[in-house]
């Protein structure tokens, strides 16, 4: 199975681990990530304004490229996943945005949201299946107690993203189980880390991450996993006493599949 792969800005830079281990895992699991040539940054934040068209076009270009390849579009970063799914929903269901975006784009055929956007975790759950994944694990992470940190952009708004139940998600917990570890469920796994306020007000992420770590640690987590580079940054900068190590989910996946030191595509 070939996917049009949209890595996003950070995966080429500060979050290279998220990308690298995903590529290695994909080889082990038998699917191919074909990077979209000349992809452009999604902007990190979905442009909420109903009259914001230009800032949605980088997503439309990537979505249309995948459509032309006849492939589904796969992402890893929570923010890219969020922006691409929401813009795709606009192109499919919001006539005004769709028409105006297509006027700008002047494509051979108008783009109407035909592409399916999937998060890497959704591929594991819905295409490969966690039972199958479990069979391919060679280094089970037995005994590790792992807290899934979803953050906000992966889940909300649930009606558009359809990633999982936004208030009680299971996908990362099932992923952790498939790797042979024990998921730790704690209530702040879907609460925001403080996001971009980190740039000018460190106070906000400091409070948010302390709350998240206190909760995860209280329920006995040895480590957290995330799919979002900004969450990773804010969690890593935390000075909470309860702090535990944070990994990209792909790193643990590669480790469990025995390809952490392997060769990527």
């Amino acid at each position: 199975m070939k996917y049009s792969y949209y890595p996003g800005c950070t995966l080429k830079n500060k979050a290279q681990d998220l990308d690298l281990y995903a590529r290695r895992a994909a080889v082990a699991l038998g699917f191919e990530l074909v990077e979209i040539p000349e992809w452009q940054c999604c902007g990190g934040v979905y442009p909420l304004g109903t009259d914001e068209i230009a800032s949605k076009l980088s997503s439309v270009r990537a979505l249309n490229y995948a459509k032309e390849q006849g492939q589904d579009l796969i992402t890893l970063c929570s923010a890219c996943h969020h922006v691409l799914k929401r813009v795709n929903d606009d192109m499919k269901n919001v006539a005004d945005i769709s028409d105006r975006a297509n006027n700008y784009m002047q494509l051979d055929a108008p783009y109407k949201g035909e592409t399916t956007v999937v998060h890497f975790l959704e591929v594991l759950r819905d295409r490969i299946g966690f039972d199958e994944l479990k069979k391919k694990v060679v280094n089970p992470l037995t005994g590790k107690k792992i807290g899934a940190y979803y953050g906000c952009l992966a889940l909300r708004p649930g009606k558009v993203l359809e990633f999982d139940d936004p208030e009680n998600p299971q996908i990362m917990e099932d992923f952790i189980r498939a790797l042979g570890a024990e998921p730790v469920i704690y209530p702040y796994r879907n609460e925001c880390c403080g996001a971009y306020t980190a740039l000018e007000d460190k106070n906000i992420p400091a409070k948010r991450t302390k709350m998240i770590f206190d909760s995860a640690d209280g329920f006995g987590a040895d480590m957290l996993i995330t799919a979002c580079p900004l969450c990773m940054y804010n969690l890593n900068k935390s000075e909470a006493d309860s702090k535990v190590p944070v990994y990209y989910f792909t790193e643990l996946l590669a480790e469990a599949l025995g390809v952490k030191e392997g060769v990527e595509q």
Binding site: G43, L48, T50, C152, R156, C192, Y196, E200, I204, Y233
Partner: protein, 131 residues
């Protein structure tokens, strides 16, 4: 009938946000859910009623515009589908679209950086804090 400046701006916020503040039943679930509640001078539920009452000047001066995390907890949980987060965002855009409305300036950036800052943080902050 000619509209006052505030009425025009309130209408603009309704249009940009695509949200209908009249659907609000004043339950406060947005403010109950908001992770930035304590950082805000005008609270999420107040944003909605300020737009209903054309009280835009206060919104434009509010520091809440820069404290919303864009986490969509209020959008997800609003029982009336008012989507307060979109209203806050539209008020922010109204300010930024005016001359000199940017909250963040490119020359400020170097001082704010550290070695680990991910690109995602910069692009997100740019999109939120600048036109």
């Amino acid at each position: 009938m000619s509209l006052t400046m505030a009425e025009k701006q309130a209408e603009q916020i309704r249009q940009i946000s695509g949200s209908d503040p009249y659907k609000c039943m004043k339950c406060g679930k947005c403010s109950a859910s908001c992770p930035s509640f304590n950082e805000m001078d005008i609270k999420p539920h107040q944003f909605v009623s300020y737009v209903v009452n054309d009280n835009i000047e206060a919104l434009a001066e509010s520091k809440s515009l820069w404290k919303c995390l864009g986490c969509f907890a209020c959008v997800e949980r609003c029982p009336r589908d008012v989507q307060p987060g979109r209203v806050v965002d539209a008020a922010r855009q109204l300010v930024e679209r005016q001359r000199g409305g940017d909250h963040l300036h490119a020359e400020d950036i170097p001082a704010l950086l550290d070695d680990d800052v991910p690109q995602q943080l910069l692009v997100s902050a740019f999109r939120r804090y600048r036109r």
